[in-house]
């Protein structure tokens, strides 16, 4: 596991995130392993991202801060849930997202969703941060605090350059 994986999960823990749902991605595999082995986080893999957002909504209402880890390809799957559950009921939700289809991407089909990713997030009025350089991760702590201050879903896109290829 890399230092970046550890730093991300440390920021989660320091912001009292205790419930994390994940849908796997190769880029995020190290973070997911780190989440899974962290004793203060309940890791619950979900089968689809909208299901995961439902689990996160419930956990937050039950008193545990929650977060989702997913791929940008699934943003289309989550639109209705983000709008009618997370935003309508004003629930905070950090979304750590692998930004597939950016520079370095070997799979052409991933680019098809990458070109819609920021447009969809903008249309949904979801605050969006893009980690491209290694140092960008230093904003994560502030982004998490911001998320729980404003009670909104917030997207953190992490691209292949940030992860140094995959």
């Amino acid at each position: 596991m890399s230092e970046i994986d550890k730093k991300i999960v440390n920021d989660f823990v320091n912001n009292k995130i205790e419930f994390v749902t994940t849908v796997p991605c190769k880029q995020l595999a190290g973070v997911i392993d780190e989440i899974d082995s962290n004793d203060s986080i309940y890791h619950i893999p979900s089968n689809k991202e909208d299901e995961g957002i439902g689990l996160c909504a419930g956990a937050f209402m039950g008193g545990k801060r929650s977060a989702i880890i997913m791929q940008n390809t699934a943003i289309g799957v989550t639109v209705n849930t983000l709008v009618t559950l997370t935003q309508f009921y004003r629930l905070p939700l950090p979304m750590l997202i692998s930004y597939r289809g950016e520079l370095g991407e070997p799979v052409a089909c991933q680019v098809e969703m990458a070109v819609h990713t920021k447009a969809l997030l903008a249309q949904l009025h979801i605050p969006t941060y893009h980690f491209h350089n290694e140092d960008d991760v230093n904003e994560l702590d502030a982004i998490l605090k911001h998320t729980f201050m404003c009670n909104k879903p917030v997207a953190i896109l992490t691209d292949a350059t940030f992860w140094k290829g995959y």
Partner: protein, 187 residues
């Protein structure tokens, strides 16, 4: 017996517990018959009642009942393996299975045809799955509550609806009073 009658009969047994209720008519019926802070009404988001309820149950100690429908479970089939593999003994999933999409005009679902949600839940690894008739919903729920084991109840009933008003309460109010009641009971 139709869903609204099943819900009406269940109220004395479930009223003291936290309930996450499915979108559309089930929430509207529960709201009409027994509105209180322990009820979380879904105003949108078809299919996620079981996911939200499981999340609440895993995060704290109070008992949580998700009221779901056959159509909604079919929409979010991935929920059943997640439930099976993340056991919360304070969680009960009640699937009111009337074999139809009630809120949209009683179009038939596959659950009323060849697909048995009871068998699907078992195949997904869920351990305490009970199928009952509408007449036995109350006693089955009582057994599930007393067992302190995560339970899935598939309650078979007839399709059909009563006229109920929509819920006009603000979603943030629904969420806030639900969270406050949970917090105070867990204190």
């Amino acid at each position: 017996m139709i869903r609204s009658e099943v819900l009406k009969n269940l109220i004395p047994v479930i009223s003291d517990h936290f309930v996450v209720c499915n979108i559309g008519l089930p929430s509207q019926e529960l709201h009409l018959m027994d509105d209180q802070p322990t009820n979380f009404y879904m105003l949108g988001t078809m299919g996620l009642s079981s996911s939200i309820g499981l999340g609440v149950a895993l995060a704290q100690k109070q008992k949580v009942i998700s009221i779901d429908g056959d159509g909604s479970v079919l929409t979010n089939f991935g929920t059943l393996p997640t439930i099976a593999n993340n056991v919360a003994d304070n969680f009960i999933l009640l699937i009111i299975d009337n074999g139809s999409y009630g809120s949209t005009g009683d179009q038939p679902t596959y659950a009323g045809m060849k697909t048995s949600l009871t068998n699907v839940a078992r195949a997904c690894g869920c351990e305490n799955v009970i199928e009952c008739d509408a007449e036995d919903a109350v006693s089955t729920m009582q057994v599930a509550l007393d067992s302190n084991k995560m339970t899935i109840i598939v309650c078979k009933c007839e399709s059909g609806n009563i006229k109920v008003p929509v819920i006009e309460m603000d979603p943030v109010v629904i969420r806030d009073r639900f969270m406050r009641e949970l917090e105070s009971r867990n204190a």
